[in-house]
């Protein structure tokens, strides 16, 4: 096949696609930083694992928003479902972390599939609002089912077993950090593979021009539903990680704030590129840790202002800005 295609114009595009898929040296940079951070900032590992979990959650939004173009305000529904699944399992005698994560992913995926099959039939404002409704519905259910979930007091009494039976969760969050890092790395590999696959390409096609994708016979609804389900599973894993590493689940795992701030972190880093979350989330969360403790109200004000400025002036995020500058610098000489 390849030999015959080699003589035509198409291989240039094929070559470009394949090049995008190949791992480049700089792609290891975030992982190097994450590994170094473990040794350099041993007293900040709790914050570190929070950041890793938030990156995973934001990555799940990036998949549906950046690649499939579905604007969602309710991704916390799946994060929360995963957190409560892992939390309830551990609180009722099954504290094995890996199977807990698997269960969290499964429950979130089923929920994503069911709710997606319903709400992805709508568009625009209705879709946006229904994503919000699904999350609000789950939060109300978790709030009212206090006998199971602990309601507003949060779910307590979780006992999580050591990872692989070898590494118990410690006071310094060493295990929590490395465990989260390993899970994030695997999820990132999977997501990377996904967006460079033909399936991922067809999602981009749907985002860019839905009518044309219909016209060439692409099953648009089914593809959207599949990525929605996959992203739900990833969000569920992130939620499960949070429950297992903090051994506590509060109602706010399902809240609007979580989805909203993840969107903000994503837009700061850059939407529709796998590395947006890796830039936006640490920046946001480290700045929040520095500045918000003194006065969370001020933090909200400035972050609101920042996001308005980003939307109006730097719509493609920091990575987009960097790319622009790089292109300009290249053109000059």
């Amino acid at each position: 096949m390849r030999a015959t295609a080699g003589r035509e114009a198409a291989p240039i595009a094929v070559e470009a696609l394949a090049r995008g898929h190949r791992l480049k040296a700089w792609e290891f940079a975030p992982w190097l930083v994450a590994a170094l951070a473990y040794f350099v900032f041993p007293s900040y590992l709790a914050l570190g694992s929070q950041i890793l979990i938030a990156i995973l959650f934001t990555l799940s939004i990036d998949l549906i928003l950046g690649y499939a173009g579905i604007v969602t305000l309710g991704q916390s529904a799946f994060f929360g479902a995963g957190a409560y699944t892992a939390g309830l399992l551990a609180a009722h005698g099954w504290g094995e972390p890996l199977t807990g994560l698997a269960a969290a992913a499964l429950v979130a995926a089923v929920l994503g599939l069911l709710s997606g099959a319903v709400i992805l039939r709508t568009k625009g404002l209705s879709l946006l609002m229904l994503t919000l409704v699904i999350a609000a519905m789950l939060q109300e259910a978790a709030n009212k089912a206090g006998s199971i979930t602990g309601g507003a007091d949060g779910l307590q009494g979780m006992a999580v077993w050591p990872v692989l039976g070898l590494f118990p969760f410690d006071l310094y969050d060493r295990t929590a950090y490395l465990y989260s890092l390993a899970v994030l790395f695997l999820a990132w590999l999977a997501a990377r593979r996904l967006v460079h696959s033909p399936f991922g390409r067809s999602l981009t096609g749907i985002r860019e021009n839905e009518a044309r994708m219909h016209a060439i016979g692409s099953p648009v609804f089914r593809r959207r539903l599949i990525i929605y389900t996959i992203a739900a599973a990833l969000a569920g894993i992130a939620g499960g990680l949070l429950a297992e590493t903090t051994q506590y689940v509060a109602l706010d795992v399902l809240g609007f704030e979580r989805s909203g701030s993840a969107l903000i972190m994503l837009i700061i880093g850059g939407v529709g590129r796998l590395y947006g979350p890796f830039i936006g989330v640490p920046l946001y969360m480290i700045a929040q840790d520095r500045f918000a403790q003194a006065n969370p109200v001020y933090w909200d004000f400035w972050i609101g202002l920042l996001i308005i400025i980003v939307v109006i002036f730097a719509r493609r995020g920091l990575l987009g800005l960097a790319e622009q500058l790089l292109q300009k610098a290249r053109r000059k000489p």
Binding site: M129, I134, A136, E140, K144, I267, V297, D300, I303, I307
Partner: protein, 290 residues
């Protein structure tokens, strides 16, 4: 009078008052979305601002109730013009994500600002003496303030409908919602029309927030807490319509009051389920155009 009938009347009455507040707040959002195609999640900010202005004027400066309400309408409408010219205008025709993020940014800023100025506690709202107490209708008596709310809401709704159907301004809005480019071609200044409509919608939201301060308590988190209800009214009613949201508000107001009265252990759960079902059946809303 038997208990079931009494409960039904009670639900209907309080539901109606609630519906009026929801409608006043949401109708501007529906028109903004229909006219400018702008997904303005920050619309609740205008309602909250109306409530803050009114309660501050009444509690701190003893301004009479009608004057305080009028001041809330005017201040917020004027303030919204500034925001429209400064921010919203730049994102007309932009993608949904930008609009959503910009309005989330506005919500964050307004919540923080309100908390800074007014503190975290809800603002007390005391209706004037002549609207306190009960109105006795023989068989049953009704709280005077809620009755006033229903009547005031009905008057505003009538004025709004007449205005849209009978005035030149209303005709321009209808033309621009139907076909913006055609409206521009026949010489309607849609840019100015947008600004005026935006101001009117925000003013109405302020009116709803101010009048409804004893149903939806005025606190800093207002715009975020009630966002989903305003969006439900607009999406179920249908974008760009001013009649649709009215029926949607009625449905939501009465159903929500009913569910919370009869099945308090489920909270708002059934309202969300009902919304989901309604939008599945008619994705464009009850009165929206396909």
């Amino acid at each position: 009078m038997n208990a079931a009938l009494s409960a039904a009347i009670s639900i209907g009455f309080h539901g109606l008052a609630y519906a009026m507040v929801l409608y006043l707040i949401s109708v501007g959002l529906s028109v903004t979305m229909g006219l400018m195609g702008f997904a303005n999640l920050a619309h609740g900010v205008f309602a909250a601002a109306g409530g803050f202005v009114m309660t501050r004027l009444m509690n701190a400066y003893h301004v009479p109730f009608p004057l305080a309400v009028a001041a809330a309408f005017v201040t917020v409408a004027a303030g919204s013009v500034v925001l429209e010219r400064l921010l919203y205008r730049r994102l007309y025709g932009a993608d949904e994500l930008s609009q959503v993020l910009m309005s989330i940014g506005l919500i964050f800023m307004s919540v923080a600002a309100a908390q800074y100025i007014w503190g975290p506690q809800p603002q007390p709202m005391a209706p004037p003496a002549y609207l306190n107490g009960q109105i006795d209708l023989g068989a049953r008596s009704f709280p005077a303030y809620r009755s006033f709310l229903i009547i005031a809401g009905a008057v505003v709704v009538t004025l709004l409908w007449l205005g849209l159907e009978r005035t030149r301004f209303g005709a321009r809005i209808r033309a621009a919602v139907d076909n913006r480019r055609m409206a521009q071609s026949v010489g309607i200044n849609t840019s100015r029309l947008f600004t005026w409509t935006f101001a009117l919608g925000s003013g109405l939201a302020a009116l709803g927030g101010a009048l409804g301060a004893d149903i939806l308590a005025i606190d800093p988190g207002y715009a975020q807490e009630h966002l989903i209800y305003f969006l439900i009214v607009v999406a179920v009613g249908g974008l760009g319509s001013i009649r649709g949201p009215f029926f949607a508000a009625l449905l939501l107001g009465i159903a929500d009051t009913g569910f919370k009265y009869l099945l308090p252990e489920f909270g708002a759960f059934f309202i969300y389920a009902l919304t989901l079902a309604l939008l599945l059946w008619r994705p464009q809303g009850l009165f929206g155009r396909a």
